[in-house]
């Protein structure tokens, strides 16, 4: 992937993600992780090569919650169904269900302005859940949150994943988050981004919170970290 201004963002990146696989992508800032997701989603066209997504719908959780500020949580949750032409009643039911799934009951009629950062991210997640997409792309969704909120949302996302088993590509800056969440971690080099390591995380789902402090977990995190340091 080379941009019109000549910046080469990605080079020789090739990987595939199977259903039920949670793949994290870590790499130095500016290595083209976001570009990778945008190509996969069709928001950006690759200058060479191709991306194939075998799914009619995909979920794409951005860095920012990107909620419509003039709509309530419920209105935002209904938006995508609305754009897909789902009838009103069904829309309402599915939106309420998704809001409940992310733990935002009682905030349906709140506007984003009145929500905390974590709650906005939940609302953003709920919006995509209404589509029940078999493929989910995450572009550093929790990067702007404080650590406590982040841990909480990690748990909730893991719970949703264990439940729905979509295929996930999760871009993050946090090594620990990458390992804790994923069944596989891809490490990318700095620009132009290449995949320099493909590390399996051999723990099943659902995951217990104790795993956070498991030495085996730390060992894999160490492995990811040294792979990253080798390409700095």
């Amino acid at each position: 992937m080379t941009f019109p201004d000549g910046t080469a963002a990605l080079r020789d990146v090739s990987f595939s993600v199977r259903p039920g696989e949670f793949t994290s992508v870590v790499g130095p800032s500016g290595c083209g992780k976001s570009t990778l997701l945008r190509i996969a989603a069709g928001l950006e066209r690759a200058t060479a090569g191709s991306a194939r997504v075998d799914a009619e719908r995909l979920g794409f959780v951005f860095q920012d919650p990107t909620l419509l500020p003039w709509r309530t949580v419920l209105g935002n949750a209904e938006l995508l169904l609305e754009l897909h032409g789902v009838p009103r009643d069904e829309r309402r039911d599915r939106a309420l269900e998704a809001i409940a799934a992310v733990g935002l009951q009682g905030f349906e009629m709140h506007h984003p302005k009145r929500l905390s950062g974590g709650m906005r991210m939940r609302a953003s997640l709920a919006r995509w859940l209404t589509l029940d997409p078999p493929v989910f792309l995450f572009d550093e969704p929790f990067g702007a949150l404080d650590e406590i909120t982040r841990e909480k949302l990690n748990e909730e996302l893991l719970r949703l994943f264990s439940d729905k088993r979509f295929a996930a590509v999760f871009v993050t800056h946090s090594l620990f988050e990458a390992v804790y969440m994923s069944s596989r971690v891809l490490v990318m080099s700095s620009r132009p981004g290449r995949i320099v390591a493909d590390i399996a995380v051999p723990f099943g789902y659902p995951r217990s919170q104790d795993l956070r402090f498991d030495p085996a977990m730390s060992e894999i995190a160490g492995e990811v970290s040294s792979a990253l340091r080798s390409v700095w």
Partner: protein
């Protein structure tokens, strides 16, 4: 009485707490609402008193006595104008005519302005083709083109309306355009991912996003529409007299207290229309936009 200690901003929240905690909270809520209204009005009244005082000092002590008919004191304006039944009868009839003219012209300007704004947004060449002329329209000395208008529209209501439209038009398409363009890039991606049509994006994303800035423009246009109406009436003096025509007549007859009364009512009309649009705008966006005053 806890609420007394709080800053105004927190008054609403404090009220809610009181309502939950104490059954006798209702009178206190009403009192804080009155206080809120007073806080809004009192500073403006203080300005009014000060300005009137300055006016009085100037009219009384600074203007030489043989020219004092040009600058009547506030008392004279009150007795011969505001409290004079004939003058008030004339002015209230005119006020109504001018109000209708302003609102009609403003209404047309809003409809046209929104259409032009959307057209400019939808195709860049239209924006490039139209923008310089919008700026020119604003800079045009309206009185200079008035004779041209009489050729097409005579001295009618329409000719006056055209002046109102010309004067109040500019802020509408430009603020709408600004608002439609300043949509968050992530939201645009979101709609693209859902393969939303151009119309859907316009209706569900661009236009709602443009509301806060459009209303800022509408408030400016609201004030301008009154200026436009009065300028129009000053020039096209036919039919029943509006405020503009009264201003002209009173000047010609050297009825200065009456003149100042007419000017005061022109300003009041401007303030009233401005306030209505401010209120409408605030209602439309108060639940979600930072600029809006929260519902109390």
């Amino acid at each position: 009485m806890k609420a007394d200690l709080r800053h105004d901003e927190h008054a609403a929240a404090a009220d809610t707490l009181e309502v939950i905690d104490a059954p006798g909270a209702a009178p206190q809520r009403r009192r804080s609402r009155v206080r809120h209204a007073l806080a809004l009005v009192v500073p403006a009244l203080v300005t009014l008193v000060l300005l009137t005082f300055v006016w009085w000092v100037i009219a009384r002590f600074w203007v030489s006595s043989h020219r004092s008919f040009l600058a009547p004191t506030p008392g004279k304006v009150l007795s011969d104008g505001l409290l004079d039944s004939r003058t008030m009868h004339e002015i209230s009839a005119s006020l109504w005519l001018t109000t209708k003219l302003s609102l009609f012209g403003l209404g047309v300007a809003i409809v046209l302005g929104v259409v032009v704004g959307i057209a400019m947004f939808s195709w860049k060449p239209i924006e490039r083709a139209a923008y310089p002329y919008l700026v020119a329209l604003q800079a045009v000395p309206v009185l200079a083109i008035a004779p041209m208008l009489t050729i097409s529209f005579g001295y009618s209501f329409w000719a006056k309306s055209i002046i109102v439209i010309i004067i109040s038009f500019f802020p509408i398409p430009t603020t709408l355009l600004l608002g439609m363009k300043s949509v968050d890039a992530g939201l645009v991606d979101l709609f693209r991912l859902s393969k939303a049509s151009w119309w859907t994006r316009l209706w569900k994303l661009r236009l709602p996003n443009a509301l806060p800035s459009l209303f800022a423009g509408l408030r400016i246009s609201a004030g301008l529409s009154v200026i436009g109406a009065i300028v129009g009436e000053l020039f096209f003096q036919q039919g029943r007299p509006g405020l503009g025509q009264r201003i002209y007549d009173y000047t010609q007859n050297m009825q200065y207290p009456q003149l100042y009364t007419a000017i005061i009512f022109s300003s009041l009309l401007g303030i009233a229309i401005f306030t209505v649009f401010g209120w409408l705008g605030n209602r439309a966006i108060r639940s979600w936009h930072e600029s809006a005053v929260e519902n109390k």
